[in-house]
C-alpha cells in the first residue's frame, strides 16, 4: 500500500499538469483532448500490475511468537501431551469416578474412570461439561461484601466478629447445603458448628428423595437410602423413578441396567423393565413396557401390588392397603405381581414418590420379595441423597420466626429452590449474618451479606463417599484461576484454625479414613494416600447401621383420591439440568433433551389429547396456575406423546438468576433472536410450585389450571427436521416406512436371532465406484448397541468437549443450524399404550461409498486409506453439496464465525482439533486425533495397536458401554465380534453407501411376537 501512495506522489511530482490532461482531486488524470487517450481499463491494468508488485514485496513474516518454557519443569509434564488424573465428579452427589485429561497444565477433557466400581467408566453429560464451568469468565473472581468487592482478611474479621456476637446472644447458626458426600467437608461443617450452642446443618436437595429415607426410618429403624443394585435385578418395576436419566445415580444405574440388556443367540435372556409414569421420562422411553398412569393412581397401584404380594407371601395384613381400583389396573397389577414373585430376590421395585406412605409400601414390597440384601443394599447404603425435608421445613419456620442468627449456604441456591415460599427472601434479608459460598450471584448470594466463592471442583482438594465404604478423592488439576477459597478453608478460618484444604483433607484421611482400611492394604498412611490418589478411590470398611426388623405396623392404607377435573403438575429435572447450579453452562443449555429434543428452554409438556381439546399447539405460550390465587407461570407448551391426560410436566432448574448472560450467545446478526425468553432469563423457574406436604417437598401436585395465551414462542428443538422418517401420509406411493431403527421382541429373537431384519430386496453387487481402495492397515468402524443405548446424551457433550464444537444459541438451533457432530435421534412409534420410543445416536457413518465425496467440487471431503471419511477444512469452499447429498444428514455447516472473543473460555478448546471458521463444512471425524495418538503411541513402542486402546470420545464416556469402536481388519477385536452379532444392521443399507457404522437391533423383552412397536 505504501508503494501505491508513493506511486501517486510520483504523479504529483511532475509539478504542473501535463498538457492535455486535467488532474482530478484524487490524483488521477483525465484527458481534456479528443486525441486517443489511455483507456481507463489500460490504466487500471498497469496500475494493478505495479500494485501487485508492491503487495508481493510487502509479504513479510508471520507475527513473532514467543515460546515460553517452564523455568523449572514439573515432574512428568511433557509439553502438548495429555495427562490423566483420577478424581471424582462433583457435578451432582452421585460422585462418579473421573479421569481429568489435562494438557499443558489445564484440564480439558473429562472422562469416566474405568476402574470405578459405581460409574464403571461412564460419565454423564453434566460431568463432561465441567471444564466450561471452570473457564467461565463470569464466575465470581473474588469475594463480595454487600455486593461490593472485598478482601479476605477484612471479611474474615467481620464474619468472626459477627459469629462471636451470635455466640454470645446464643442465636441459631445454620448451614444449608445440598447433599454433601464429602466426609471431609461434612467433618469441617460439624467441627465448625460445634463452636456454637445452637447450631445445625440442614440438607436441602433441589430434587429431594427425602421420603425414601423417611420410609426406611419407619420400616427399618434407620434413615438411609438403599444402594440399588440394578446389576442383580432381573425384573425392574419403577413407579416414576427416572433412574436412567436423573434419579440418584443415573450413570451407575445405566451401566448396571444396560449390562442386563444383552440378549445372546445362545442365551436369549435379558432383564424385564416396567415403567409406570405420568410423563415421558428417559427411563420410560427405554422400558420394555411403559404404562402411562395418572399421578393420583400411583399410590393405589403400589398399594394393590403390595396387597397381592403380601397374599402371595402369606403375610396377610389386617386390612388391605389399597382401595378399589379399576379392573384394567387389577389385571396389570396381577401381571406385575406374578413377574415379581417369580423373580424374588432378583427384582427391584422403585418409586419417585415423595409420599412417605407410598415409600413404606415400596419397602414392604421389596421386603416381601426378599430384595433387601440382594438388589437393595442398606448395610452399605447410598449417601447420594441426604436431603431432610422436615428439617428444611423447620428452617423455613425458624427463618420466619426470626430465630436464625447466621445462615451459611453452600452448593445450593436456597432462595431459588424454595421459591414457593413467598417473601422468604425478605425474611432472609433480615438475618444478621448471611454467607454464600456460591460461584456466582444467585438468588441467595444476591442478598447475602458476604459471598465467599468456593473453588471450582477442578481447582480444589476434596473427597466423596457416595456409597458407605467407597471413598474417592477430588484433586485439583489447575491452580485457582481467581481469588476464591475452598469451603473447608473458609470454615477452618472461621473456626479459628486456618488450614489449607490439602492439609484438611489429608488430616481427615489420616485420622478417620486410614483406620477404616481393609487389612490387605498398606500399613503406612502415605502409601495408602498415594494409592488412593493414583486410583482415585479406596474401598474401606463401612459402619453397618443397625437395621431393625421390618416394621409392618407403619403401613397405612391408601385412600382413594378423587380424580379432579384440574390438571396435575409434575416437576422434574432435565437430564442436562440436574440443578440450578448448571444453568450457567452453555453446553448443557444447548444439549437437546433426550426425549423432547428441545434446547435452551423449559416448557409445559401436555398430552396430545389435552392439547387437541384446548387447541394448543407446540410453542403456544400457556399459563399454568396453582388454583385461583396461587402462583402462576407462563411457558411455551410442548405436546408430548406418551404423557398421561390431565398431566402437565415442567422442568425445574430454569429461569435462574444470571442466565440473562446468554441473551447474546451465538452469532449476532441482523435477524438474530436472543436465547432468553421474555423474562430475560433462560426459561422460567417452576420451583414456585414446589410445596411442603406431610414433611416432604412435593414435586407432584394436583389442582392446576391451564389457559392458552395469545403469544407464541417457537421452541428450539433439534428433532423434527432431523427426523429420518417420512410420515406415512407424505411418503410416496409404495414407499414403506424405512426401518431406520430396527427392533424385535425377545420372543421373536429367541426363535430367530435375526428377527426384525428388513428383508433384503436390494443388491449390493452393483457399484458405481471401482473397488480400488484397499485398506490394508486398518479399517476403522463402529458398532452401536441400540438395546444398551438409553439416549442419555453423555456422548453429545463428550464430543462437544473433544472436538471444539461451538455453542450457537437458541436462534441458530431454531434455524436448524446446531453444530453437534453426534445427535441422538428419538423415534416414536405407535400411540397411547402402544407407544414405543427408540433412541439412535447418529453421526457421520463414514460410508465406504460416500455420497458426499462424489459431489464435492474441491475434494474437501475424501476417503482415507483407513476407511474414514475425511473433512478437509482448508479445502472446503462451502458449497454444501455434501450436506445435501448425505442420506444421514450429519454434516454441519459453519454459517458464522462463532465467537471466540472470550479468551478465558477459549482455554476449554482442545488444541488437537482445528477451530473451524465460517463457511466450512464439518462433521464427525471418528476422533481422528485420538486414532492418530493411539497409532503413534503403539508405533513408538514398536507394538501393534491393542484393541480397545483407541477410544473415541463418545465411546469412552458412554455409561451404557453401547459404543464399540475398533479396527474391523483385526479378527480378534471386539468390533469384529460385534459385526457378527445377528442383531447387527446398517442404517439405509439399501443405498449401498456401505457405512462403517453399524447398529445392533433393539430387542424388547416382550412375549408377543408382533412387530409393531
Amino acid at each position: 500500500m505504501n508503494a501505491m501512495n508513493q506511486n501517486s506522489d510520483d504523479h504529483r511530482s511532475l509539478g504542473t499538469e501535463p498538457r492535455g490532461l486535467r488532474r482530478l482531486s484524487n490524483g488521477y488524470f483525465v484527458s481534456t483532448e479528443e486525441a486517443p487517450a489511455l483507456s481507463r481499463r489500460e490504466f487500471l491494468e498497469a496500475a494493478g500490475f505495479s500494485l501487485s508488485l508492491a503487495a508481493m514485496s510487502g509479504c513479510g513474516r508471520a507475527p513473532v511468537e514467543s515460546a515460553l518454557p517452564f523455568p523449572i519443569q514439573p515432574v512428568g509434564a511433557i509439553p502438548g501431551r495429555l495427562q490423566y488424573y483420577a478424581s471424582t465428579c462433583a457435578g451432582c452427589p452421585a460422585a462418579c469416578g473421573l479421569l481429568i485429561g489435562t494438557r499443558d497444565g489445564r484440564p480439558l477433557k473429562m472422562e469416566g474412570l474405568p476402574e470405578h466400581p459405581l460409574s464403571q467408566g461412564g460419565l454423564c453429560a453434566v460431568g463432561q461439561a465441567l471444564p466450561i464451568g471452570l473457564y467461565d469468565s463470569q464466575r465470581l473472581i473474588g469475594l463480595l461484601r454487600a455486593g461490593k468487592k472485598a478482601e479476605w482478611a477484612q471479611v474474615d474479621e467481620e464474619i468472626l466478629q459477627g459469629l462471636r456476637q451470635i455466640k454470645d446472644q446464643e442465636q441459631q447458626v445454620v448451614i444449608v447445603t445440598s447433599t454433601i458426600t464429602s466426609p471431609t467437608i461434612q467433618a469441617s461443617i460439624d467441627s465448625f458448628l460445634d463452636q456454637f450452642q445452637n447450631a445445625k446443618h440442614v440438607v436441602l436437595d433441589a430434587v429431594s428423595s427425602s421420603a425414601i429415607l423417611d420410609a426406611h426410618e419407619q420400616t427399618h429403624a434407620v434413615r438411609v437410602l438403599p444402594h440399588y443394585r440394578f446389576d442383580r435385578a432381573e425384573v425392574v418395576v419403577s413407579f416414576g423413578a427416572d433412574f436412567l436419566g436423573t434419579w440418584i445415580s443415573p450413570v451407575e444405574f445405566t451401566a448396571d441396567w444396560s449390562a442386563r440388556r444383552v440378549p445372546r443367540e445362545q442365551s436369549p435372556e435379558m432383564s424385564y423393565h416396567v415403567q409406570l409414569e405420568s410423563r415421558m421420562s428417559l427411563t420410560g422411553s427405554n422400558a420394555d413396557r411403559r404404562i402411562a398412569i395418572h399421578p393420583s393412581n400411583q399410590g393405589p397401584l403400589v398399594a394393590r401390588l403390595a396387597d397381592k404380594l403380601a397374599a402371595a407371601a402369606g403375610r396377610q395384613l389386617d386390612e388391605p392397603l389399597a382401595p378399589r381400583i379399576a379392573e384394567s389396573d387389577e389385571n396389570l397389577v396381577s401381571e406385575l405381581a406374578e413377574r415379581l414373585w417369580n423373580a424374588r430376590g432378583k427384582s427391584l421395585v422403585l418409586c419417585d414418590s415423595q409420599e412417605v406412605g407410598v415409600q413404606t409400601q415400596i419397602n414392604f414390597i421389596n421386603d416381601l420379595l426378599g430384595n433387601y440384601e440382594h438388589t437393595l443394599d442398606i448395610e452399605r447404603p447410598s449417601l447420594q441423597r441426604q436431603g431432610n425435608d422436615r428439617e428444611v421445613q423447620q428452617l423455613v419456620e425458624d427463618i420466619r420466626a426470626k430465630q436464625v442468627g447466621a445462615l451459611i449456604v453452600a452448593e445450593v441456591d436456597l432462595l431459588y429452590d424454595l421459591a414457593g415460599h413467598e417473601s422468604l427472601s425478605a425474611e432472609v434479608g433480615e438475618i444478621p449474618l448471611t454467607i454464600s459460598f456460591s460461584h456466582r450471584v444467585d438468588e441467595f448470594a444476591a442478598i447475602a451479606k458476604f459471598v465467599c466463592p468456593d473453588h471450582h471442583t477442578l481447582e480444589s482438594w476434596s473427597d466423596a463417599e457416595p456409597i458407605s465404604g467407597l471413598i474417592s478423592l477430588i484433586q485439583p488439576t489447575i491452580r485457582p484461576l481467581s481469588n476464591t477459597r475452598a469451603i473447608v478453608e473458609s470454615l477452618a478460618v472461621w473456626s479459628g484454625q486456618p488450614q489449607a484444604a490439602y492439609e484438611v483433607v489429608k488430616d481427615h484421611w489420616e485420622k478417620k479414613i486410614f483406620p477404616r482400611r481393609r487389612s490387605t492394604g498398606s500399613s503406612q498412611f502415605l502409601d495408602f494416600w498415594e494409592q488412593a490418589l493414583r486410583d482415585g478411590f479406596v474401598e474401606v470398611s463401612s459402619e453397618a447401621p443397625t437395621i431393625g426388623r421390618f416394621e409392618t405396623s407403619v403401613l397405612e392404607p391408601v385412600a382413594q383420591e378423587r380424580m379432579s377435573e384440574n390438571f396435575s403438575l409434575v416437576l422434574y429435572n432435565k437430564v442436562s439440568m440436574l440443578d440450578s447450579r448448571h444453568s450457567h453452562n452453555p453446553w448443557l443449555q444447548e444439549l437437546p433433551d433426550p426425549v423432547t429434543k428441545v434446547t435452551w428452554d423449559n416448557y409445559v409438556s401436555i398430552s396430545p389429547r389435552d392439547a387437541a381439546e384446548l387447541g394448543i399447539q407446540d410453542g403456544d405460550v400457556v399459563k399454568v396456575s396453582a388454583g385461583k390465587n396461587g402462583s402462576r407461570i407462563e411457558l411455551p407448551a410442548l405436546i408430548q406423546p406418551g404423557q398421561h391426560d390431565g398431566v402437565l410436566a415442567v422442568a425445574l432448574a430454569y429461569g435462574c438468576k444470571g442466565t440473562d448472560r446468554f441473551a447474546k450467545i451465538g452469532p449476532q446478526w441482523i435477524e438474530a433472536r436472543p436465547s432468553v425468553s421474555e423474562n430475560g432469563l433462560v426459561g422460567v423457574n417452576a420451583a414456585v410450585f414446589v410445596s411442603f406436604h406431610g414433611g416432604t417437598q412435593r414435586y407432584t401436585r394436583a389442582g392446576f389450571s391451564l389457559a392458552k395465551t395469545s403469544r407464541h414462542r417457537e421452541l428450539a428443538a433439534t428433532q423434527e427436521y432431523n427426523s429420518l422418517e417420512l410420515p406415512p401420509e407424505v411418503a410416496p406411493h409404495g414407499a414403506e416406512r424405512r426401518k431406520i431403527v430396527q427392533h424385535t421382541t425377545l420372543a421373536a429373537f429367541t426363535k430367530d436371532a435375526e428377527a426384525g431384519a428388513v428383508e433384503e430386496h436390494f443388491s449390493t453387487e452393483t457399484q458405481l465406484w471401482p473397488e480400488d481402495h484397499p485398506k490394508p492397515d486398518h479399517t476403522w468402524g463402529m458398532v452401536i448397541d441400540l438395546n444398551k443405548c438409553t439416549g442419555c446424551s453423555a456422548c453429545v457433550i463428550a464430543c462437544q468437549s473433544e472436538n471444539n464444537i461451538p455453542v450457537v444459541g437458541y436462534d441458530e438451533v431454531r434455524r436448524q443450524r446446531e453444530m453437534h457432530w453426534i445427535r441422538i435421534d428419538r423415534y416414536y412409534d405407535g400411540e397411547d399404550e402402544d407407544l414405543n420410543v427408540a433412541h439412535q445416536p447418529m453421526m457421520c457413518q463414514h460410508c465406504g461409498n460416500a455420497p458426499c465425496e462424489t459431489v464435492c467440487p474441491v475434494l474437501a471431503t475424501v476417503h482415507s486409506s483407513e476407511g474414514l471419511n475425511e473433512q478437509v477444512y482448508n479445502r472446503c469452499v462451502g458449497t454444501r453439496y455434501c450436506a445435501n447429498n448425505c442420506p444421514y444428514k450429519v454434516r454441519r455447516f459453519n454459517w458464522f464465525k462463532y465467537p471466540y472473543d472470550d479468551t478465558l473460555q477459549n482455554l476449554v478448546l482442545n488444541p488437537e482439533v482445528t477451530v473451524r471458521s465460517r463457511g466450512v463444512m464439518e462433521k464427525c471425524s471418528m476422533c481422528f486425533q485420538r486414532i492418530e495418538a493411539g497409532k503413534i503411541e503403539a508405533r513408538s513402542q514398536g507394538l501393534p495397536i491393542v484393541d480397545g486402546a483407541i477410544q473415541t470420545a463418545c465411546q469412552q464416556s458412554c455409561p451404557a458401554s453401547a459404543i464399540v469402536f475398533g479396527d474391523m481388519n483385526d479378527p480378534q477385536s471386539e468390533i469384529h465380534l460385534a459385526l457378527e452379532n445377528p442383531r447387527r444392521y446398517r442404517v439405509l443399507e439399501e443405498l449401498n453407501v456401505r457405512p462403517a457404522v453399524s447398529y445392533l437391533r433393539v430387542v424388547r423383552n416382550r412375549d408377543e411376537e408382533s412387530q409393531h412397536g
Binding site: 514485496s57 515460546a67 501431551r81 478437509v872
Partner: protein, 217 residues
C-alpha cells in the same frame, strides 16, 4: 504525447515497485513460508557450540521430542545441569583460576553476560544462590519453527520412525543462531512422506500416510 507521459509515469511506478521487490527479494516467500527465518533470541545461544563442538545430543535438551507433540524448549533447569558449573567461557574461567592461584585467593565466580540472563530467569544471584523472594521467570525465546494451527506435526511419531532431526531442521549443529532450514510447506511434507514410504527411512520400511487428516484434524 499524453500517452508517452503516462507511460513514463507508469514506468516510474513499475520501476519503483520492482526496486522495492528486489530489495526484499532475499526475504521474499509465499505468504507464511518462513524459510530462512532466524530471529534474534533473548540469549545469544549457540547451537554450533553445544550440538556441534560439544556434541550434546539434540534429545538431551529437547527430550519431549521422543514422547510428545512438541520437541519443546528445555526448561531453564535443564541448562543448569551444566551451567551450574560452567558460568563463563572456558578460557575466561581458566584465566581466573590461574590468577587466583597466583594471588593465593579463592577463585571468584565469573558470570558471562549471556549466562547471567539464564541465572536471572531462575532468580539466582551472582553466586548462583536463590534470590530471596525471587520468582523464576520463563525465558521468552522466539519461536522459529511455527506451523499454522490447522496443521499438526507430531515429533514423537517422526522420532520413532527414525527421521533424524536434521531432516527437517537442517544442520543445526553448525548454526550459530538457529534459522528455519526447510520451507515446512505442505508440499515439502507430502514429498517426504511419499519418498519415505517408497524408499524407507534410514533403511527401515515405514508407512508415512498421506491422508489429509494425518496432519489436519
Amino acid at each position: 504525447m499524453q500517452q508517452r507521459v503516462l507511460l513514463i509515469v507508469l514506468l516510474i511506478g513499475v520501476g519503483f515497485g520492482l526496486s522495492l521487490l528486489v530489495s526484499a527479494m532475499s526475504l521474499w516467500h509465499m505468504p507464511d513460508n518462513q524459510q530462512g527465518y532466524a530471529p534474534e533470541q533473548p540469549i545469544n545461544y549457540s547451537h554450533r557450540l553445544h550440538a556441534g563442538e560439544l556434541q550434546i545430543d539434540c534429545k538431551f535438551c529437547h527430550s519431549a521430542a521422543q514422547s510428545g507433540h512438541y520437541a519443546g524448549i528445555p526448561s531453564t533447569e535443564v541448562c543448569m545441569k551444566c551451567h551450574r558449573y560452567v558460568t563463563a567461557p572456558y578460557d575466561q574461567m581458566q584465566q581466573e583460576l590461574q590468577l587466583a592461584d597466583k594471588e593465593g585467593r579463592k577463585p571468584e565466580t565469573i558470570v558471562s553476560p549471556e549466562l547471567k540472563k539464564l541465572y536471572d530467569s531462575l532468580a539466582l544471584d551472582e553466586n548462583l544462590q536463590p534470590i530471596e523472594n525471587g520468582t523464576p521467570q520463563s525465558i521468552p525465546w522466539v519461536r522459529v519453527h511455527n506451523l499454522p494451527d490447522f496443521a499438526c506435526f507430531n515429533h514423537q511419531a517422526h522420532v520413532a520412525a527414525g527421521v533424524t532431526c536434521q531432516t527437517c531442521h537442517g544442520p543445526v549443529e553448525s548454526m550459530e543462531r538457529v534459522s528455519q532450514f526447510a520451507p515446512l510447506s505442505m508440499g515439502w511434507c507430502v514429498n517426504c512422506h511419499r519418498e519415505s514410504t517408497r524408499d524407507g527411512v534410514n533403511g527401515r520400511e515405514v508407512h508415512a500416510a498421506t491422508d489429509c487428516t494425518v496432519c489436519h484434524h
